[in-house]
Symmetry: C2
Subunit: 353 residues, 2 copies
DNA sequence: CTGAAAGCGCTTACAG
DNA sequence: CTGAAAGCGCTTACAG
């Protein structure tokens, strides 16, 4: 009734009460075949009577394992937890964790610091998503001997990654836009700093790769990202950002006919706001996304986008991570997942002037 | 380069290398004020040189804490991870965890068994959602001395809960439906076994409470749940279930004019399929949800529903849990969160015959 | 300000 | 089949 912190029984108590040694109690739980069945039975009986459960903390220390995979949340958690695409990836991760009988530890910044969180993470392996993987983080994990993989990370870094071919996907979808006559285009780009290590500009970040893809498509039409008909806006890419962008897009580029975004959720926020302001899509403005969320076919008009299978990224990334944890492989691996462009009603045609 | 499992340095190595005791090394990390600043500096220097980080496993065993909150996934994980409402709750939980510098451990069934997962959970407190809390689970956690709270759990059980007033909310929304002339109604109810301990029928489960609410509203119109004009279908309530329900609803009740669901995600799946089959909402059929997801205002027509703040449930539930962990309170607490009915275009009027 | 030593609760190689 | 004992890597009361 009243919560006097009754001390939990330990293996020692069970040993004493059952008349066997701690060794035997441990065996009864972990390797019962080594004992006679009567012994196991007696030990389990007293364990049940005293309400004994092996302390996972002590067990894990002995075993030197956490039985948990960590998912590192970036500084700004709201962006993460509100993006259905990321949640899809997390679902994939948790599926593999379940198969392996591991838990999934969601690791927020510790005292506002991702680095601190990495230092203290109580996990056997770590997964990041679309994050600026500072060298410091990689170094700490190396010293701590904790394998790391990055989903939508920077494929030119030294850690294993799971990505789609971002350049090619961006090229493909921009092609669809240009093919339909659009020339005055606003690009909503993921903020660079979400992805890049600003120091080493040699690195090809995801937003960079995608912009390269856009550029390549534009060039085939005699244009470039520097063209005055192309306006680039950086954004954190949340639903709310999308809503807020509505006005900004027209302010900065009154003759815009198509908005190309790097994320469905921001495109959906934009579509939502456009409808609210009675601006017709695609007649007045076309909108294009990236991810192919479930939501992108719920909204009307349905969103043209790039399908990248988040679930699969999570699954494959986690399987890869387990390979490192179990020591099955050691070389640096890059997984590339197929994507496809999905054209729906949010992308319309425009008369080429 | 090659992954020879180099042994990580321990506190002992740092002690030896720095010329101080293990005690001092520990103090340098945890309570530097107790040492002279030169000592701290020297110790930290050698720690950095050797790439030492305190092992959280050992630390936690000494401290008898995990610094993590557990979220227990029910048997069927897909339903959980694909329901935006639940994810909203998880977001709230993780917010509080971050404030407290805790991690959030997502705990899937262990060897297909939720009970096994509960036995082994390496956490300081546990949160469940809309789950059948078997006595066994409660008992194990009591013995393991791990506090537990239930969100959308069964308010008549002995554990602390966070809920809305489900009966009253269901009453209110059914009132809106009846007020608009609907009499031939299909109710999509959450499956009982997701919530109830079948043994003790005295318990008021969430679906039961909501049905009581519906009943009360119906009675005011001289009807009841047993009325032949009321059809009840049990469902797991996923998007896919909603799609599949489209045909079933009309098969079972050809003259239905309104579908009342207990979950937005199933209502949205239904709306999606209705649009696909060119069945006009609300002209041909009205649909009503429960939760007020972001998605419910993205889809058209926008969904009439009950707004229950998932984020807030997560936050308040987790704060409550920390009170138990920290021993601030011990009595059984029930939190009730406000809700409100939101009428949108998916609910139309019908001529009363 | 610093250190020797006990303790956290398990696992497991080794011996019998 | 069973047990004594070392070990996992920390924390911390106590002593000086």
């Amino acid at each position: 009734m009243n919560d006097i912190k009754r001390k939990r029984p330990t293996i020692k108590d069970i040993a004493k009460a059952s008349g066997f040694s701690k060794t035997s109690v441990s065996f009864a739980f972990n390797d019962p075949k080594r004992l006679s069945s009567e012994t196991v039975e007696k030990i389990m009986d007293t364990a049940k009577q005293l309400g004994y459960f092996p302390d996972p903390l002590a067990r894990n220390l002995s075993l030197q394992k956490h039985f948990s995979i960590g998912f590192l949340l970036p500084q700004n958690i709201n962006h993460t937890m509100n993006n259905p695409y990321i949640l899809k990836v997390i679902e994939g991760i948790s599926q593999v964790c379940e198969e392996k009988n591991y838990t999934l530890t969601i690791i927020p910044p510790l005292n506002q610091s991702v680095i601190e969180a990495v230092k203290h993470a109580a996990v056997d392996g770590l997964i990041t998503m679309g994050m600026d993987l500072k060298n410091q983080i990689v170094e700490i994990l190396e010293q701590r001997n904790i394998p790391l993989i990055a989903i939508d990370g920077n494929p030119s870094q030294v850690i294993p990654t799971v990505n789609i071919n971002d350049k090619s996907a961006a090229y493909d979808i921009m092609k669809e836009v240009l093919k339909r006559g659009h020339r005055n285009i606003t690009i909503i780009s993921l903020s660079e700093d979400l992805f890049s290590d600003k120091v080493s500009s040699a690195i090809q970040t995801v937003p960079m790769l995608r912009r390269n893809g856009y550029e390549k498509a534009l060039e085939e039409y005699g244009m470039s990202l520097k063209d005055e008909r192309i306006n680039i806006i950086l954004s954190e890419c949340t639903f709310e950002d999308g809503q807020a962008l509505c006005d900004k897009v027209f302010d900065e580029q009154p003759d815009v006919t198509c908005v190309v975004t790097m994320s469905d959720i921001v495109a959906i926020g934009l579509l939502y706001q456009l409808r609210h302001e009675n601006i017709c899509v695609p007649e007045k403005l076309s909108v294009v996304g990236f991810d192919n969320l479930l939501e992108s076919k719920l909204i009307s008009p349905r969103l043209t986008t790039v399908d990248q299978p988040g679930l699969d990224k999570g699954i494959q990334g986690t399987k890869l991570l387990f390979n490192y944890i179990e020591g099955t492989i050691s070389e640096n691996t890059r997984i590339e997942i197929p994507y496809k462009v999905i054209v729906r009603e949010s992308l319309g045609e425009v008369d080429v002037k």
